[in-house]
Structures are given as structure tokens and as C-alpha cells.
């Protein structure tokens, strides 16, 4: 039951959302105009169609904005606009890179469902409480179950990975996205529930503290099963994210000495599992490729898989993608080539794995750096909410930490891979890359944040 209504104004958010809406409209119009003009056709007739998606975006953002005002929330007026801005830029780029259907798909399959879930969470913030109390086990098991099902029965895509599960007439669902949120919820609940017990009953061994093993079995089991399934699905990016989430939430949840012990054990186990897998399945081929491409994307040495030449050089094979990305970002320079005037589609998978490179090419390094700043601010605001929450809300705090880390890892790994700071891992950027399920999950996470935000009050004047 929604609680007492007390309508407030959120002027900062209003101002920012106006800018975001203008940005979206301008971006779409600009892309359409540029593409039409380069083909020597009149752009005016196409503009009306171009303004439809940003209108949908604007309406949805307005809707959420009004919801927050109606709910009487005065704090955290930047989170929604930042997400809106990232979406606006991301949709503009997808509009540029792919046919219009791609944008509409992003809207229908990711954005609208995501916004709906957000609305539900914002109207009924007590749902977070209910999740904590009643639904944790269900969500966790459902996530894991779907994942394992995908590992065995999933749809195989072009690159050989199984990422999606198709149930009858329903569209394919990318279950690897769900498991990330499920893990966050599970760990947040578990750490809150057993945290004191673990810390109270750990035994000291010199300066380490070893907790009783039985407290970690559920967590480790969960993560291990998920990792196994993901490795079967060849989704190594998700493995990385799960690992990072696991480590980060443990770090946030427990005192250092316990954390170190658990982390060491966890690392040891995963190394063991990795070695076992290396000998039984051909997974390392992909990893070898990506490492070779990372070290020198221009190398003309032949690509070696398990010591055997694979028939192409590194430059022609896995290095090609990274080369394209780097040439793209250099062609963009500081302010970009301009939307519609670069060659971002030269980069394979420009709309998902390499969307940041496309942005760096057409919009320039200034926009790329600005987007990184926006991501950072978003992360810090979420963590700030975690810090400011009144005492005793460990679950919510950990949830926020988990969500924040989830976004962070995605940005680090994706952008790092694009600019040749890290090997590629097949991770996409939240809100910018194309990917319906990922967008849905990320928006749901933002919805959870905005639900928890409602427990804060504005500082008294």
C-alpha cells in the first residue's frame, strides 16, 4: 500500500532532465540529417520518424520524475538524469550504427519493461523489505536455475556462445544478466543474516581469522555453480563480473582478516577449477586469442591456439577488432568526426561491445571522458546513499554496494578492453550498449536504488 503522499518539487532533476531530453532529440535529428545529407537526399521528411524514439525516452523519464515528486522524495536528484543522459547518448549511437529496428527493440525489450519495474519499485519501496524477508531464496534459485538451463538448452549464437534461453513463443532471454542481480541480492541477504555469526565465531590463526566453513558453503556453492554454467556458456565476461561482485561484497561485508581468508580460499578454488577446465574443454582457445590480441593487436605473427597455427595472423584475426577501435578513437580526436561522418561500423560489434569506441570516434574524447565522469558520479551517489542510510539496514547497504560494483566492473572491463588497457571480455556498458536484457536488469537496479533512496531525508535547513 503506498504511503502518505506529499508532493515535492525536484528542480535540479527537472533542469537536468530538460537538458537530457534536448540532447536526445538533437542527437537523433543530427544522426538522421547527417546520414540523409551524405546520401544527397533531403533530410526533412525523415526527421519526424527520427524524433519518435527520443520522445518515448523523454516521456518515460518524465513519468519517473513525476513519480518521484509524487512520492515526496527530495534527495538524490542526479541519479535519474544521469541514467537518462547515458540512455540518450546510447540510443543516439545505436540509431547511428544500426537500422531503426534496433533502437525500437532496445526500447520495447529493455527500456519500457525496465521503466515499468522501476515505477513499481518506486511506488512500493517496501518491496525491498519484502525481497529481503520473503523472496530472496526464490529469486536466487530462479536465477541460478535459469542459468543452468541455458547452459544446457540455451540458444547458440554466432560466436559459439550460449547466452539466451528460449522458452516456447517468448523471445530469447539473456539469463547471464539475471544471475548478476540474483547474486547481489543473495549475497546481500546472506551477509546481513550471517554476518554477526561469522564474525563472532571465527577462530584466530595468527593475524588471520578463519570463519567456520559451514557459513560459506551456500555462498561458494552458489557462485561456483553459476561460474560453471557460465563457462559452459562461454560467457567469460559474466564470470569476471560474478567474481568481482563476490570479492567486493565480501570485502564490504566482513572485517578484513576474515575477508582475506575467504578471498584466498576462493581464489585457490577457482584457480583449481580453471586448471581442470583447461584440460577438459577447449575454452582456453578464446582466452588465448584475446590475450594475443591484447598484447599487440598489430602483430603479424600467426595466431597460435594450443601451440598450433590457426591459419590467420593476429592482426587479421582477433587483433583486427581492437585495431579498428584504436584507429577509430584516433580518427575522432578531441571533438570527434561528427555523428554520421566517421567509420564506426568498421569496428565489428560496434553497437554493443565497442560502442565506446564508436562514441570516441564520432563524438570525440571530450564526450568519452564526460561519460566516464557521469558513470563515476553515478557510482559515487549510489555509494553515498549506502553510507547515509540509518543504521541497521545492512541488506540495503550491501545491495547498493553490489549494484555500484556491478556498474563499475562493467565500465572498467568494457572501456578497458576497448582502449587496449585490458583484454577483451565481451562485457557491455550499462545503458549505452545495445542489449535488451542487460538494460532491463540495469534499470531494475536503478529502481532498487531509487526505492532505497526514499528512506533518506533531506538534511534539515
Amino acid at each position: 500500500m503506498p504511503e502518505r503522499l506529499r508532493f515535492v518539487f525536484r528542480p535540479l532533476e527537472t533542469l537536468l532532465l530538460v537538458i537530457v531530453m534536448l540532447l536526445g532529440g538533437l542527437g537523433f535529428a543530427l544522426v538522421t540529417a547527417a546520414i540523409q545529407l551524405r546520401q544527397e537526399t533531403n533530410p526533412i521528411p525523415a526527421l519526424s520518424g527520427a524524433l519518435l524514439p527520443p520522445a518515448v525516452l523523454a516521456l518515460a523519464l518524465l513519468f519517473l520524475h513525476l513519480l518521484l515528486q509524487w512520492r515526496g522524495v527530495e534527495v538524490e536528484q542526479v541519479i535519474l538524469p544521469i541514467v537518462g543522459l547515458l540512455l540518450a547518448v546510447g540510443l543516439t549511437m545505436i540509431w547511428r550504427l544500426r537500422p531503426p529496428e534496433a533502437v525500437w527493440q532496445q526500447l520495447w525489450r529493455g527500456f519500457i519493461p525496465g521503466v515499468s519495474l522501476m515505477a513499481v519499485l518506486m511506488i512500493y519501496p517496501r518491496l525491498v523489505e519484502r525481497i529481503r524477508r520473503d523472496w530472496v531464496i526464490g529469486i536466487s534459485l530462479a536465477g541460478l536455475g535459469l542459468l543452468i538451463a541455458t547452459a544446457f538448452f540455451g540458444v547458440v549464437d554466432e560466436s559459439g556462445a550460449r547466452l539466451a534461453l528460449k522458452l516456447g513463443p517468448l523471445p530469447a532471454v539473456q539469463t547471464s544478466e539475471l544471475i548478476k542481480l540474483a547474486l547481489i541480492i543473495f549475497l546481500a541477504w546472506y551477509i546481513e543474516k550471517e554476518g554477526e555469526a561469522v564474525e563472532g565465531r571465527a577462530r584466530s590463526l595468527r593475524w588471520l581469522r578463519i570463519p567456520a566453513v559451514r557459513y560459506f558453503i551456500p555462498g561458494l556453492l552458489y557462485v561456483s555453480l553459476a561460474t560453471l554454467a557460465l563457462v559452459m556458456m562461454s560467457d567469460f565476461g559474466a564470470v569476471l563480473i560474478l567474481g568481482a561482485l563476490f570479492v567486493a561484497m565480501l570485502y564490504a561485508g566482513f572485517e578484513t582478516r576474515i575477508f582475506l581468508t575467504v578471498a584466498a580460499v576462493g581464489l585457490g578454488l577457482s584457480l583449481l577449477v580453471g586448471l581442470v577446465l583447461a584440460f577438459t574443454w577447449e575454452i582456453p582457445a578464446v582466452i588465448q586469442q584475446r590475450l594475443a590480441a591484447f598484447i599487440n593487436p598489430w602483430s603479424n605473427a600467426p595466431l597460435l591456439i594450443d601451440g598450433q597455427p590457426a591459419g590467420v595472423t593476429i592482426a587479421e584475426g582477433p587483433g583486427y577488432q581492437i585495431q579498428q577501435a584504436i584507429y577509430a578513437l584516433i580518427a575522432g580526436g578531441l571533438t570527434g568526426t561528427g555523428l554520421g561522418f566517421g567509420l564506426p561500423n568498421n569496428i565489428p560489434l560496434a553497437h554493443s561491445d565497442f560502442i565506446f569506441a564508436a562514441i570516441l570516434e564520432e563524438l570525440g574524447a571530450v564526450v568519452g571522458l564526460a561519460l566516464l565522469a557521469f558513470y563515476l558520479i553515478l557510482l559515487l551517489r549510489i555509494l553515498r546513499v549506502a553510507v547515509l542510510l540509518p543504521p541497521g539496514q545492512q541488506f540495503e547497504r550491501l545491495l547498493l554496494v553490489g549494484i555500484s560494483i556491478h556498474f563499475f566492473i562493467q565500465v572498467l572491463v568494457m572501456v578497458g578492453g576497448t582502449i587496449n588497457l585490458l583484454p577483451l571480455t565481451g562485457v557491455t556498458l550499462p545503458f549505452l550498449s545495445q542489449g535488451g536484457m542487460a538494460l532491463l536488469v540495469n534499470l531494475t537496479e536503478v529502481g532498487l536504488v531509487l526505492a532505497i533512496v526514499q528512506r533518506l531525508e533531506a538534511p534539515s535547513p
Binding site: W298, A315, Q323, Q324, A365, L383, Q394, S404, L412, V415
Partner: protein, 537 residues
């Protein structure tokens, strides 16, 4: 440590990571951006850069560099960049188009060359294949217009860039005559305006057809006979400016200049070359120096003055002049006239450098070498352009004008951006008096030999034949250097026919044909010999 503190730690990690990511982006933009730009400007540098990136060592730096060996992304972006630029047109001095772009049916752009004999001078560029010699290469940035401010502005607002147009000093009629006179024979012809140094024609054989170089099979066929490397006549080699030929008797002009200018002799000085010797081939004279003999079979008379000695190429006389000359003076005059200066010839395209001897120090120590060099043999190596400049010095009271191919650089709208260069390459190589004397001697050479008796009426002609001994068993190089003059202009022509035989028999007729074109038909239109492409740009 509370959760808050641990969250602060996480915040710090995030800050560091974002800083690293930003830093990496900045690194690419600032540190590595030069080497990763689309390759529009310098294909040689591109090839070098590609190797530096760890690429294939086997990029063949023939005069043609194909960029197709570069990474795919570079090729794609270079193509895209080139499509936005309209490369400038290269014109001859009369406004005839020598090199221009035209669009093919499928929207591609190809460079068309209307005068194949200018292949070495103009060079070759088409999309991703670039020659590394020639005007197209030296003036690449200018032709693309990218160093012009308004072109850069155009790029910013997505407008296509128009390159600058070049006007060369070449005269098509003279060029055509030079190429036709040379025919199939290996060699070169250089025609200069004596006063300004402007290059009116420059032909080099064997040549290649720049319009067909895109065709792999054509390019390979040019080297079909090149297994025996010694015999291989490289069609890409620009003999007019990079050829290293023994000059033969034409070099006696240099010795003559040095002797007259220092007062070692005068045009009337009489020489007695000593009693003739006899062998199976007939009678001959020798000049003995340094334990060896300079053999002179070129004339019957024993006593002759310097003017006649020049006419008949008396080796004994000139050998003696060289042998008796102070070696320092000898080397000095050679350097003044463009030999062993430690620099290549000035010209807008790449040139070679002439050589006095393998080791110039030997001229001081080895008297025989000096004598043999003075007659035009020894270890002398030179190009026709070099010899043409010697003649130009004679005609300019001792100043050698700077040779140049460029007449003007114009903005696509027609505005002049760069005018014809002027000035001397080397000044005061000799006293004006000496120049006049040598000029007269050269005129006497032509007149008294009667070689052009009916051919070029109304013109003042002076020159020198040369027959340069090369390797055992092969015919000598045939040389002729000289000038033609009337009230309107003075033109210098240098001809060499590789292993052609006697200079007077083989090279002189070429000289005459070219002189006729340059003096009597300068500026006349020529018939196009390569069919023009259908869609003209």
C-alpha cells in the same frame, strides 16, 4: 573498520580506475596519434611506420609502394579520406593537363596521366599506390590542399577539400620531341632554359606507363628480363637526374673552363702533342704522366690550338692541361661546376650527385687519374642534368641558375599561391670573360664540324660531342651537350644514349631534333597520344 570506511576504500579504487581509463585515452590521443593517422600524406613514412608497428619486413620499397600491405583499418580510412579530397591537377607551362583525376563508373577515382614520357618527372599516385619519386610525391601535401587553412576549415564543416593545382615548366612539344628522338634507346634528354633554369623537357628511357601501373601483370612484365642483374634496365630509374654515366669528352668543357679561367691557357694557345706513334689501328698521340699514357686517336694534326683541340677532342692536349694543373684548382673548378659537392642536384624531385672520383683525394695524389679525368674518363660519373648545368654556367657569365620544374602553385580558384622560383644555384663559377671565351669555342666546335649545317637556320648553336668509354666489350655512351640561342631565348640541351656509340653520330641528331622543337615550336599544342578517359573530371 566500519562499512562506511570500507565503502570509502571502494570509492578510492573507482577513482583510480577512472583515472587510468582516462589516462589511456589521453595516451592514445597524444602519444600515439601521429603514427596511426590515415595515410594520406607520406607513403614512405607509412611503410616505415608499418614496419615499426611490428608488421611485415617484406614491404618492397621499389619506386612503387603499395599500401595494400598496411593494416586493413588504415586502408579503409585512407580510402575514405582520399574520397573527400579532389587532388590538384598538374599542368604544363601552356595549361595542358598532364595529371588529373577522373571518376570511374563505379564511383572510384583514378589518376590519369596524359604524357607517359613524363612518368619519372611527375611520378605516380593512384589511391593506395604511390610512387616515391616525382612531383606527385614531392608535392603530395600541396596537391591535396591539406596544408591550406581554408581546406582545413572545409574539412571541419564536412565539405570536400579541393587540392591546389601545379603548373610545371615543361613544354609538351619539346618533351614529345625529346621522347621521340630518344626512341627505344636507353638514355636521357634534358632541356633547360639557360637563363632561368626552368626545365622545358626531361625524358628518360626506358620508361613506364603510369596509367597501367595499377596492373600487377604490367608492372611485373617490365622486369621480365631482369634475372641477369647487370643487364637489367630498370624502367623506374630516372636517368636524366640520377643516371651516373661517364661523361666522356663533354667533360673537357670543365677542363677548358678551368684552364682559361686560371690563365693556364688561352683559346689561341698552341700545343705540340709530340711525334705520332703507330700501331695496327693507325697513328696516334700520347701524353705521358705518372708512369702511364693518355692515348689520343682523335685527330691527325700534331700541332693545334686550344679551340681546335676542343673541336677534335684532343685527349693529349686536355690530358696535359689536367696533368699540369694544380690539383687543388682542378678539384675546385670541378666543385664549382657541380661535381663532388657532397649534395644532390637541386630540383623538386629526387636527384643524384655527380662524382669526380671514387676518392677525391686521389686527384691530388694520382697524376694519371687527374689527367684521365680531365679528358672525361677516369672515375667520373655524372647525369645529363649535371652536364646541362655546366653549359648553363657558360651562357650566364658564370652563374648556374637553379634548375626547377615548378612554374606556379595555384589555389583551385586560380589565385597564385607560389610563384616560379628564381635565383642561382652556384654563382661566379668563372669570370664573365672566360664564359664568353668558352661560348665562342663551343660555337666554333659546331660551326667548324659542320654537323648541323642545314638543320637549324637562324639559330646560334654551340656544343660538344662526347663518346665515353665504359666497360670492355660494350659500346661507349654517346653524348652531346650544347645550347641553342635566338633573340627570344637560350636553351641548353644535354643528351646521352647509353652504350649508343659515337656522340656525333648518335647523340647529335637527337640534339638537333629537340632544339628544333624548343626553339621553333615552343608552346605549340600536341596531339594526345593516350586516349582520354570518358568521364573527364
Amino acid at each position: 573498520m566500519s562499512l562506511t570506511q570500507r565503502i570509502w576504500h571502494i570509492v578510492h579504487v573507482m577513482l583510480v580506475v577512472v583515472a587510468l581509463l582516462s589516462g589511456r585515452i589521453v595516451y592514445w590521443q597524444l602519444v600515439r596519434d601521429q603514427e596511426l593517422q590515415p595515410v594520406v600524406l607520406d607513403p614512405v613514412a607509412a611503410a616505415a611506420q608499418y614496419r615499426a608497428l611490428g608488421g611485415d619486413e617484406a614491404i618492397d620499397l621499389m619506386p612503387l609502394v603499395t599500401l595494400e600491405a598496411l593494416p586493413q583499418p588504415v586502408i579503409q580510412r585512407t580510402r575514405a579520406r582520399l574520397a573527400e579530397v579532389r587532388r590538384g591537377v598538374i599542368y604544363d607551362r601552356n595549361g595542358r593537363r598532364l595529371a588529373y583525376d577522373y571518376e570511374t563508373e563505379n564511383g572510384g577515382r583514378v589518376r590519369f596521366y596524359s604524357e607517359p614520357s613524363l612518368a619519372h618527372v611527375i611520378g605516380y599516385v593512384s589511391g593506395l599506390r604511390t610512387g616515391v619519386v616525382g612531383i606527385e610525391h614531392s608535392f603530395n601535401e600541396t596537391l591535396l590542399g591539406l596544408n591550406r587553412f581554408d581546406a582545413q576549415l572545409n574539412q571541419m564543416v564536412y565539405q570536400p577539400v579541393l587540392g591546389n593545382d601545379l603548373y610545371l615548366t615543361i613544354d609538351s612539344r619539346t618533351q614529345r620531341a625529346a621522347a621521340r628522338a630518344l626512341g627505344d634507346r636507353a638514355g636521357a634528354v634534358v632541356v633547360l632554359d639557360a637563363r632561368t633554369g626552368a626545365v622545358l623537357a626531361m625524358a628518360s628511357q626506358p620508361a613506364f606507363d603510369p596509367n597501367r601501373v595499377l596492373d600487377e601483370s604490367y608492372t611485373r612484365s617490365l622486369f621480365a628480363n631482369c634475372d641477369a642483374a647487370a643487364d637489367c634496365l630498370n624502367p623506374f630509374f630516372h636517368r636524366a637526374v640520377q643516371g651516373a654515366y661517364v661523361p666522356g669528352s663533354t667533360w673537357k668543357t670543365v677542363t677548358l673552363i678551368a684552364a682559361l679561367d686560371t690563365g693556364q691557357a688561352s683559346p689561341e694557345t698552341v700545343f705540340d702533342v709530340g711525334p705520332p706513334l703507330r700501331d695496327e689501328q693507325g697513328s696516334y698521340y700520347v701524353y705521358r704522366i705518372g708512369g702511364s699514357e693518355v692515348v689520343d686517336r682523335n685527330h691527325p694534326d700534331r700541332v693545334l690550338d686550344l679551340t681546335r683541340a676542343y673541336l677534335v677532342s684532343a685527349n693529349a692536349v686536355f690530358g696535359r692541361l689536367g696533368g699540369e694543373m694544380d690539383p687543388a684548382v682542378f678539384v675546385d673548378y670541378a666543385a664549382r661546376l657541380g661535381f663532388s659537392r657532397g649534395e644532390t642536384l637541386p630540383l623538386e624531385i629526387s636527384t643524384g650527385a655527380a662524382q669526380l672520383a671514387n676518392d677525391p683525394q686521389a686527384i691530388y695524389e694520382n697524376d694519371f687519374l687527374r689527367a684521365i679525368t680531365a679528358i672525361g674518363q677516369g672515375e667520373l660519373l655524372t647525369s645529363p642534368l649535371n652536364m646541362a648545368l655546366v653549359v648553363a654556367a657558360v651562357l650566364n657569365e658564370g652563374d648556374i641558375p637553379r634548375p626547377h620544374l615548378l612554374q606556379a602553385v595555384r589555389h583551385p580558384s586560380g589565385d597564385l599561391l607560389q610563384a616560379e622560383p628564381s635565383g642561382n644555384w652556384i654563382s661566379n663559377t668563372m669570370r664573365p670573360e672566360t664564359a664568353r671565351q668558352v661560348r665562342q669555342i663551343m660555337i666554333a666546335m659546331v660551326r667548324d664540324s659542320g654537323m648541323f649545317s642545314n638543320m637549324l637556320p637562324g639559330l646560334t648553336i654551340g656544343g660538344k660531342t662526347g663518346t665515353a668509354e665504359t666497360v670492355e666489350g660494350r659500346p661507349p655512351h654517346a653524348w652531346f651537350i650544347g645550347f641553342v640561342e635566338n633573340e627570344e631565348r637560350t636553351v641548353v640541351i644535354a643528351v646521352v644514349v647509353e652504350h649508343g656509340g659515337q656522340g656525333g653520330i648518335v647523340a647529335a641528331p637527337i640534339f638537333a631534333e629537340v632544339a628544333d622543337a624548343a626553339m621553333n615550336h615552343l608552346g605549340e599544342p600536341v596531339q594526345e597520344i593516350v586516349p582520354a578517359p570518358v568521364a573527364v573530371e
